[in-house]
Amino acid sequence: MAVAALLWCIAALLATGVCGVAAARYKAATAAVYAVALLVSAVALFIGASFLLHGGARSEALTLPLGLPWLGAHFRIDSLAALFLVVANLGGLTASLYGLGYGRHEEAPARVLPFFPAFLAGMNLVVLADDAFTFLFSWEFMSLSSWALVMAHHRRPGNAAAGYVYLLMASFGTLALLLAFGLLAGSAGGYAFESIRSATASDEVSAVVLALVLVGAGSKAGLVPLHVWLPLAHPAAPSHVSALMSGVMTKVAVYGFARIVLDLLGPPLWWWGALVILLGGMTAVLGVLHALMEHDLKRLLAYHTVENIGIIFIGLGLALAFEANAMPAAAALGLTAALFHVFNHSVFKSLLFYGAGAVLTATGERDMEKLGGLIHRMPYTAFAFLVGSAAISALPPFNGFASEWLTFQAILLSPALPQWLLKFLVPAVGAMLALSAALAAACFVKAFGITFLGRPRTEAARTAGEVDAASLVAMYTLVALCLIAGILPAYFIDALASVTHALVGDSLPSRQGLEWLTIVPIEESRSSYNGLLLLAFIAASAGLTAEVIHRWASNLTRKSDAWDCGFPDPSPATQYTAGSFSQPIRRVFGTVVFRAREDVDMPAPGDSRAARLHVELRDLLWETLYLPAAALVGFAAEKLNRVQFMTIRGYLTLVFAALVVLLAILAIWQ
């Protein structure tokens, strides 16, 4: 039975975690723990993939006598769970593989090794959970184990603060989900997902549940305005854990949202879709604008996760809106786009984080302004990072383009929606999506160009070396997946058909009916895309051109100094920096979104000190939402502090008053 096998895998991971506590001081422990995690993830991936590819509306359930005595622990695998199991365990597989190489440089293995398998176990448990208690327990377990990993290097500046904010937001999210499940279960108290599915909630209750789930799952996924913990916590963790958090944990949050809103909640209303689409659009644009202003490689990648989560939620919102208007084919398109992007993002985000981790290992630097020219010293890492950058910038023929193309096609179906607000909102969000895609390309030109191209800016960049084989194998597996998912999207879309059938009742046209492996979102006369043909075309024309020119014209090359308009400057400091690359975009967008101010401090003529450029960026969300909230909590805590210092008579009065109030409530309730 699939569920039983998966539960055994999870148990194996937990056992490895426990052993990791004891054995962490041994040298071989790192390799052993990651190897076991690798094998178990591979098994779980295989089980999940075979369940998904089998198709159909199968599901298997299992109940264990753990947890609450009158509830037990329900576990279930269906097509949605199988998809997210594939995503989670693919991430776990490559992270373990990467960890085999990267983990050797870990300075505090006792703080990482026990929690890594526990984190993987927690994520798998969330996806398998079939009742509210198990779900929340696994969710919190996942948060806590990842918090422990974030705090692994707690003495580094900023990490402790990052862990604190993460813990706050995670607890806040779990509270919201708890309330949501409470509302869903209702006064009857049936917490199993089966009973929640069959119970129907009123419109008001459903609206409140939607809001709570957006807060709870959305904060874990990184929806604006609850995304602030992401760029703090994701970079603080070790690189393979960052990849897992960005690439996989955010997707588990998306699973939570999909499970509750699309599965448990019943038929949606049209304005749910509008709300989710709007939040998704804003998240996408804000995420990428923040990323453009960053020059820390890992923070940049974390902000890009926020952007891509926005894109995924646009797809989910479109699915909701179409489903509310009884248009199942269009809803299937939106949902397929969102789920395909879930898979694609986990692949290329993990790849990019592994690349960043490789750079960190090789140079000890995360700051792009101190790198440069790494393509000569780390050619394989550079190529892998380039493929990841091209994939995330939605460039054909890679996978990022395939899922964004599907999202655009779903947006183009918006005129069929009857509600006027949706009719105008969806094209506006389409413009936001196009803007974020273009800005993402700009950001990755910056990230790849400043880090890997050009000339080295510091000694660390000059003396970097290539990383070990395990990391490279992990990266290149993902490179291959990026390309395959881009040129053969038809197979992936077919695999998603069972998921969309279960959730919205329809699916995209299967590839059996189409030739040349084209994908067709609605019907062939409307639009189609063939990644394989495009790749073949491009390769053929570029190759043919190269051959013709080399054969019949010239293939001589001479190495020389850079031209640089006749005034080449030997100092690498005259190159463009990350800040200077994003300056035009900062001028255009940043003055509004970040109140960006530039200040040049020029020395008077004759004074030979250096000029200074001072750039000030403000995170308006942090200033208007979080700082006041923190101030409010501080104020309330100050006031409440008086309770600490009362006399004995004061405490007795408090107890007496509480007793009287409770009795009075009881009296009135009679």
Binding site: G373, F448, I538, A539, R558
Partner: protein, 318 residues
């Protein structure tokens, strides 16, 4: 047999766009020169330029990597493929179903990505200027183009260029303000993407006013020839899109026979000449903008595209 014939027609299209692209640029330069009361370079000069460059040795900076050497081939390959997918003398070609307008825009984005990376590769400040300005312009031009595509797909019910062209020739389109707005938006985007005045001066020698030229400053020999050829192709591509969507009369439909193809090719040449003439007149009549006025210009294009889509919602009311 029919498949072989279709493949041949597609191949013809690829060769025609490659052959006509330098001629178009030569024509535009000639018209601009005449408007300035000069003789100007001969019409076939771009061909001679390409041949000359291709036969020269390529000088590569020592700090450049394989990205620098591979980028020209990739840029040329993607631009050529994109240009081959736009209907010129006939619609419905066999491989036009591989990519619709969104994919064509994204293919040009790929080319731009590689070129911007090549600009950063050597590690000079001029390459950085070109790349960063190009990415800023692209970040506004792509959404504007996609809004125009959105408007067209609302009208035609498809994002495939062949279907759009066929449906806009039909009787139910009529005179629509949204089409005019989409045309203006597309023209503005085309000017920005092809690095024409008022966004960028293709003939400037001042590095601080360059955008596209600054990115390719380090290129020479066959690499420069390929990049120049790619920019000629890009201009042809944008003019072909505008011609096929907004002036679709005279285009043959796939399978109509050789005579129709010939007539279509003739009409296409006429449309290209007209477009080139208008471009030359526009470039001569207007001055180059400051770099930081470009976002206003492209923002206006984005607003026009969005307005076109909005107004379509109004007029489709029944």
């Amino acid at each position: 047999m029919a498949v072989i014939l279709d493949l041949l027609v597609q191949l013809c299209q690829m060769l025609i766009v490659l052959a006509l692209a330098p001629l178009l640029t030569g024509f535009v330069r000639k018209v601009k020169a005449h408007l300035l009361r000069r003789q100007g370079p001969p019409l076939l000069q771009p061909y001679r330029d390409l041949l000359r460059l291709v036969r020269k040795e390529a000088v590569v900076a020592a700090s450049a990597s394989w990205v620098f050497r591979a980028a020209p081939y990739l840029v040329f390959g993607t631009t050529w493929v994109a240009a081959a997918l736009v209907p010129t003398f006939a619609t419905g070609l066999i491989f036009s179903y591989a990519a619709d307008m969104i994919a064509i825009v994204a293919l040009l984005g790929s080319a731009r990505f590689m070129l911007a990376l090549a600009g950063l590769d050597v590690g000079t400040s001029f390459g950085g200027i070109g790349s960063s300005r190009e990415m800023m312009i692209a970040s506004l031009a792509e959404p504007a183009m996609l809004m125009a595509v959105f408007t067209l797909s609302l009208l035609a019910g498809s994002t495939q260029l062949s279907f759009i062209a066929a449906s806009l020739q039909g009787p139910e389109t009529g005179l629509r303000i949204s089409l005019a707005l989409a045309l203006v938006a597309l023209v503005m985007v085309a000017i920005a993407e092809n690095a024409r005045i008022p966004i960028d001066n293709p003939a400037t020698h001042l590095e601080l006013t360059m955008v596209h030229e600054a990115m390719i400053l380090e290129y020479s020999g066959r690499h420069l020839a390929l990049i120049e050829a790619a920019s000629y192709l890009k201009l042809l591509l944008y003019l072909s899109i505008i011609a096929c969507v907004f002036f679709p009369w005279g285009v043959a439909v796939s399978g109509q026979g050789f005579g129709a193809y010939l007539a279509g090719a003739g009409m296409y040449a006429v449309k290209l000449a007209g477009g080139g003439l208008l471009l030359a007149v526009f470039e001569t009549a207007i001055a180059k903008m400051r770099v930081f006025r470009v976002p206003d210009f492209l923002g206006a294009a984005l607003m026009l595209g969005f307005l076109a889509a909005l107004l379509l919602f109004v007029s489709r009311v029944t």
